[in-house]
C-alpha cells in the first residue's frame, strides 16, 4: 500500500506523528480559547451583578416595593432558581410528584427573594475583588474573591460564586460560599432535616414553606 504512493515507512510514521501533534495542539488551543471565553463570561456575570446589587440596595432604601421588583428581576437574570430549588431539596426531589415539584418551585422562588433581600445586605457599600476563576467539570465555574471594605468587619471575607451553564447554555449562579460556608449545602441540610423529621414526605416541606410565607 505504502509502496503504491512511493512513500517510505519512516516518512509515513513521521507524517502520522505530525498530524496527531497538529490535531492535539488544535484541540488544546480550541479548549483554552473556549475556557478563556467562559472565564470572561463568568467574570462579567459576577461583576455586572455586583453593580446591579448596589443599585438595587440604593433603590430599596427609599422604595421597598420597587426594590423587591428589582430583586425578583435580578434573581431571574443572574440566578438559576430552578436548579437551586432542585439541589436544595435533593434527594427527596427525585421522589416528589410533578405537582409537588411545581408547587415547591413557585414557593421556593418567593422564599429565595425573601432570603436574598436579607442576605444581599452583606454586599452593601463594599467592593468585590475577583482573585481567580476555576473550571469544575464541563459546566461549572467558581469565581473566587473577597470583599474589600476597609474598617468594616466584613473586610477580607472570602466569597465564592458557583456558576453553572444551564440547558439553554446560559450562565447562572447556583451557590454562594461566604467564608467557606456554602449556602446551598446549608439549605439542603435544612430542607433534608425538615423532610426527614416529617416521615420523609416532600409535601411537609411545601407545608412548612407555605406556613413561613403566608402566616
Amino acid at each position: 500500500m505504502l509502496s503504491l504512493f512511493k512513500i517510505n515507512r519512516k516518512s509515513f510514521i513521521l507524517s502520522v506523528y505530525f498530524l496527531v501533534a497538529f490535531l492535539l495542539t488544535s484541540v488544546t488551543f480550541t479548549n483554552v480559547k473556549a475556557d478563556t471565553k467562559l472565564f470572561n463570561e463568568a467574570k462579567f456575570h459576577v461583576e455586572t451583578m455586583m453593580e446591579d446589587i448596589q443599585f438595587l440596595l440604593d433603590v430599596g432604601k427609599t422604595d421597598a416595593d420597587q426594590g423587591r421588583i428589582l430583586l425578583t428581576k435580578l434573581l431571574d437574570k443572574y440566578f438559576d432558581s430552578l436548579q437551586i430549588a432542585k439541589f436544595s431539596s435533593m434527594p427527596a426531589w427525585r421522589k416528589a410528584t410533578p405537582i409537588e415539584k411545581e408547587e415547591f418551585i413557585t414557593l421556593f422562588e418567593i422564599y429565595l427573594v425573601n432570603l436574598a433581600a436579607k442576605r444581599f445586605d452583606e454586599f452593601k457599600d463594599v467592593e468585590y475583588i475577583i482573585s481567580k476563576i476555576e473550571k469544575r467539570g464541563s459546566k461549572m465555574l467558581l469565581v473566587d474573591g473577597h470583599i474589600k471594605a476597609p474598617g468594616n468587619k466584613r473586610d477580607n471575607t472570602q466569597v465564592v460564586w458557583r456558576l453553572f451553564l444551564n440547558e439553554e447554555n446560559k450562565m447562572r449562579i447556583i451557590d454562594i460560599e461566604i467564608a467557606k460556608i456554602s449556602m446551598i449545602v446549608a439549605q439542603n441540610d435544612e430542607f433534608t432535616s425538615i423532610i426527614r423529621n416529617n416521615k420523609g414526605k416532600f409535601s411537609s416541606l411545601i407545608d412548612v414553606l407555605k406556613k413561613e410565607l403566608y402566616n
Binding site: 445586605d121 458557583r162 460560599e177 439542603n188 441540610d189
Partner: protein, 252 residues
C-alpha cells in the same frame, strides 16, 4: 491532682477512641453525624432561650456602648492569648511556616498584650486547635453534641478541648492563674463574640425554617474547611467544594 489528670486522660482517650471508631453514618451534605438529635434539639432550644433572654440583649447593649475599635481590640486580644496553642497545633499539623508566623506575631504583640496588632499582619490570624489537629490525623468527628450554654461540639471537639487545656503553654503561668484568667475572660469573650457576629448569628437564628439544622450545617462546614486546609495541599478555591462539586455533578 494526679487522679484528676488521670481522669482527664482517660476521658480523652475514650473520646478519641470513640470518635476514631465511629462510622460516619451521615445522611446530609455537611457530613454531620447526629445520633442523639432529639436530645441535641432540646439542648439547642434551651441555648436559644438563654441567648434570646441574656446573651443577645447584653451583646446588643455592648455593641451600642462599645466603639468598634474596642470590640476589635478585645477580639485581637482573645486571638493573641491563644496564639502559642495555635502555634503548637500548627507545628503538629506540619505547618511550620504558620507556627513560625504565629510565634513571631505573639512575641511582637506581647507589648500590647495583643490588643493592638504591631506585627502589621492584619487579617492573618491562625486559630489551630487540637480538634483540627486530630482531624488532620484522620480521626473522625464522632457524634455531634450540643452542650448546654457552650453550644455545638463533637466527641472529637470535646477531646480537642481537653487536650488544648492540658497542653496550653499558658499553663506555665500556674493552674490558679490560668483558672482565674479563664473565668474572667470567658464571659467577656462570649459577649464580645456574640456582639461581633450579631448579624450573622441573628440571620441564622431568625431567618431559618429549621435553625437547628442550619446551625449544625454551618458548624460542620466550618469544621471541614478548617481541617481540609492541611489535607488539600493545593490552593483550592474553597475547601468544601469537593463534596459540593460531586453533589452537583451526580445530580446533573
Amino acid at each position: 491532682m494526679q487522679f484528676s489528670l488521670l481522669k482527664k486522660i482517660l476521658i480523652l482517650l475514650s473520646l478519641v477512641l470513640f470518635s476514631s471508631c465511629s462510622l460516619n453514618n451521615t445522611n446530609n451534605l455537611s457530613n454531620a453525624w447526629d445520633p442523639i438529635e432529639p436530645v441535641n434539639r432540646a439542648v439547642f432550644s434551651f441555648n436559644m432561650f438563654v441567648d434570646t433572654y441574656t446573651l443577645e440583649p447584653i451583646a446588643k447593649a455592648y455593641n451600642y456602648v462599645m466603639p468598634e475599635f474596642a470590640t476589635n481590640a478585645l477580639s485581637n486580644h482573645f486571638d493573641w492569648i491563644k496564639t502559642p496553642l495555635s502555634a503548637l497545633n500548627s507545628l503538629l499539623q506540619g505547618k511550620g511556616d504558620e507556627a513560625f508566623d504565629s510565634i513571631t506575631n505573639f512575641s511582637i504583640n506581647i507589648l500590647t498584650l495583643g490588643f493592638y496588632d504591631l506585627s502589621g499582619n492584619k487579617g492573618i490570624k491562625f486559630a489551630e486547635d487540637f480538634d483540627q489537629t486530630l482531624g488532620v490525623y484522620k480521626i473522625g468527628t464522632g457524634p455531634y453534641i450540643m452542650i448546654p450554654f457552650l453550644g455545638p461540639s463533637t466527641f472529637r471537639g470535646m477531646a480537642g478541648t481537653i487536650l488544648d487545656g492540658l497542653v496550653d503553654p499558658l499553663n506555665l503561668l500556674g493552674t490558679e492563674r490560668v483558672v482565674r484568667l479563664n473565668s474572667t475572660e470567658l464571659p467577656i469573650k462570649a459577649v464580645n463574640t456574640r456582639a461581633e457576629y450579631m448579624e450573622q448569628i441573628n440571620d441564622l437564628k431568625y431567618n431559618s425554617l429549621d435553625a437547628y439544622a442550619v446551625f449544625r450545617s454551618v458548624y460542620f462546614q466550618k469544621l471541614q474547611s478548617d481541617t481540609n486546609d492541611v489535607l488539600s495541599n493545593d490552593n483550592d478555591t474553597d475547601l468544601n467544594s469537593g463534596a459540593v462539586d460531586a453533589f452537583f455533578i451526580q445530580n446533573q
